[in-house]
Symmetry: C2
Subunit: 196 residues, 2 copies
């Protein structure tokens, strides 16, 4: 394989995707080329279409092909109830679960000294402006139950503290269908303390 | 996320790649869109270029942007020495190792009753025609050391049996740098029997 040929170039571009390394990128490239009409051309079309049409919602920071996004512009969603999430995948997880009828604010990650993510890398200022312009009734912090997630939650609470907003967090406890024997000690302890 | 929007369409197309499932496809899609100029546009360009330029070599079955491929058309490679491999990734592995100066024949897989891959799915007929037209001095069977790989090797040997060709196989034994304690019994036994 020529090192600067189209095949190795394609493999290099695929291998930087999260979840794909050099070996799986080679395998993916071969599969794509051997199924040019069934896989490769549809992928190229889908990527080009997405690159052209998808924009960041100026209100909540989610991605959609409309601006503001479908959720922010949906009149049936409660604009007084904002759920703060770290990433868009977390937003999707909540939407898949169903049941939440408020709107979101996507921070774009959590604070992480290790990864060099500070307050300026997250959409904290946008959240500050957003709640100042239109004070919500309640803000739900749906941030990861990790050290970084919880320190991010503290920073968000500081921002919200300037207003009279009810701030809640997702409950901790046993996952539905979870077996005690397979749960970590922290979760069991929390579930005991929050029993009711 | 709208189920038929460009974002979900892109994720669906990514998730059919080997090595990516729905979850990693979502993560890859988000990374691509957040790095549109650095990752997404170069990937689209690389894929389009590859789709346009890469062809299957009519001689050996490898992929390249020239036809015949660079290896088949290289006058310094020994056309009388053919190395039969299952896949293009195996060819690349041998090229990375260096040292082999012959040419290849890419079968496109190995026989597998489980995966429904029969003789007609491999380029066995091409090999038959190729060796009949230009009888090589030696054919090296560099097929996987699995049951399917070895039954494929037998079929290839049947094809070659019609001509006076020296047929060899890759040696089995300890990998360089391998420790006995971490090797499987079959490899140790083979290495003992082939000692010298």
């Amino acid at each position: 394989m020529k090192q600067d040929g189209p095949l190795s170039h394609m493999i290099r571009q695929l291998s930087v995707l999260p979840g794909l390394g050099p070996r799986s990128a080679r395998r993916a490239a071969l599969t794509l080329i051997s199924k040019k009409d069934d896989m490769m051309m549809p992928l190229i079309r889908a990527l080009s279409e997405a690159a052209e049409q998808i924009v960041t919602c100026p209100v909540c920071g989610a991605l959609d092909d409309t601006s503001p996004c479908r959720i922010c512009s949906d009149p049936s969603r409660d604009q007084g109830l904002i759920c703060v999430v770290a990433t868009l995948t977390d937003l999707w997880a909540i939407e898949r679960a169903g049941g939440f009828r408020g709107v979101y604010h996507v921070l774009g990650g959590v604070l992480s000294a290790l990864d060099g993510i500070g307050p300026d890398n997250l959409s904290l200022d946008d959240l500050k402006t957003r709640v100042a312009e239109n004070v919500p009734r309640e803000v739900i912090l749906a941030l990861p139950a990790t050290v970084d997630g919880q320190s991010t939650a503290h920073v968000v609470m500081d921002i919200l503290g300037a207003h009279d907003i009810k701030v809640t967090r997702l409950a901790h406890g046993m996952p539905i269908g979870g077996e005690l024997d397979y749960l970590d000690d922290g979760t069991i302890l929390t579930a005991f303390q929050a029993r009711g």
